[in-house]
Amino acid sequence: MVEDFLSDAEIKRKQTKHRINVHSLQLAVAVALLGSWQILADKKILDPFFYGRPSGVMHQLGVWIQHGTSIGSIWVNAWVTLYEATYGFLAGVILGIIFGVFLARNPTAAEIFAPYIKVSNSIPRVVLGSIFVLWLGLGSISKVALAFVLVFFPVFFNAFQGTREADNKLIANARLLGASKRQVTTKIVFPSALSWITASMHVSFGFALIGAIVGEFLGAQRGLGLLIATAQGNFNPNGVYAAMLLIAIMALTAEWLITKLEDRLLKWRPTQVSGTEH
């Protein structure tokens, strides 16, 4: 038989076609879901007073953008929530890495702290939000603190485990090449724990947003959480959805940035082989 591979142009055409198909079906799902919601609400099968409707959500967003919200500009409120989450996230990631790597490299210290870590991890951390509001007041700091405790533990555990799993052979090799204990930690152990750490960062930005928003539910002067709580109090489901939409945009943007960062930090990793011939 004569060898007759597909030409590059043909393969490309096939792939493009596949992509267009997937995207149009994805769009169709969204249209079907939102469309039926809108129709059911318009026909009063779903009571728009309780369930809201897509057009109402868009209207609500338009009002917030043009005239501001009852608690000030929508951008200011979104910004407050974003920076509370971001500060909590950064603090949690940095301290989580430092403690995780330190304890994994110092087995005696790890043994001493193990029961305390277990206990503090078993506390449902959202409850701490109330304590933080009492201690730190209604301002942003209490929200940053709640976001921090939510982020700290997953990052800490991953950094700890990643450090423990560092290849002994690589550590031995580095020591034979002249690395000090500190160099082994920074040049060998930390890079090998990085894929564990970045994996935990993906979930933990979500936790940071939860921390900021729950903190705002519990008592705040500004923020999307307060906006949601206010909308709930006013029986305004569209307001709740509109704020949710903004939060989703933040979470997706953060996820995209973390993926970029991960690709940069882990560029030495073999790329996943994908996309065989269709």
Binding site: K169, L170, A174, R175, L176, L177, G178, S180, Q183, W268
Partner: protein, 271 residues
Amino acid sequence: MSKGVHVKFSNVSKRFRTPKGDWYQALKELNFEIQRGEFVALVGPTGCGKSTALTLLAGLEQSSIGEVSVDGTAVKDIDIRTGFVFQHDATFPWMSVANNVGAGPKFRGLDPKEYRPLVQKWIAKVGLVGFEKHYPHQLSGGMKKRVALAQALINEPQLLLMDEPFSALDVQTRSIMTDELMALWETTGSTVLFVTHDLEEAIALADRVIVLTAGPAQVKADFKIELARPRKAREIRFTEEFLKIYQNIWEVLRDEVDIAYQRQLIAPSEK
């Protein structure tokens, strides 16, 4: 370089705890010496404790009884004058080829301006020019081994320890690497202890072949290999002289291999 004893194992015994909690004895009253500048191959059946001897000499582990000494001083910890090439890939996956090769000088706190030309020189010596910016996962097994060799040799170790360095390679690459190692070693003159279970490789490379018994390892026999240097490992193995040496050593080694194999059959779960 002055001659004389470089490495000495005196009555070295080593035991380990097995995961089951029993003791496993790897070495038993092991005694041998290596002269400075000598290339010695340690051969023995699988699991006999060859690698253990190396880790003691490298300072990665301590002997239970007896003493391992380098230049008359007992080995208590890692000595950076000793180089080590591992059986499996131990290059740092997050460092480029150039950074892997330069890792030793960097760890030792040398000035990058000083060691960068050295890195380039060693990359050229092991034939990896053009791959400086590649990461290990982008290289073949043989290329990774070359990185590992350059990484160890750039520090000009007085003592080079190699733990079955080529055993993970395919047969063709392996014979090429044997030749390349030979050529590199002939320019450095360092003392080498090379652990292998491949007798051909051992004879082709070494000045002396030490045969160990099935574990716990003791020296069973010690052969001087009087083949002329420089050797071409790929061709030498077809000469009559080579075959004769091979036969002599194999006679001795075979019994130990049988013993080790029988044990595996009796206790398949134990290692």
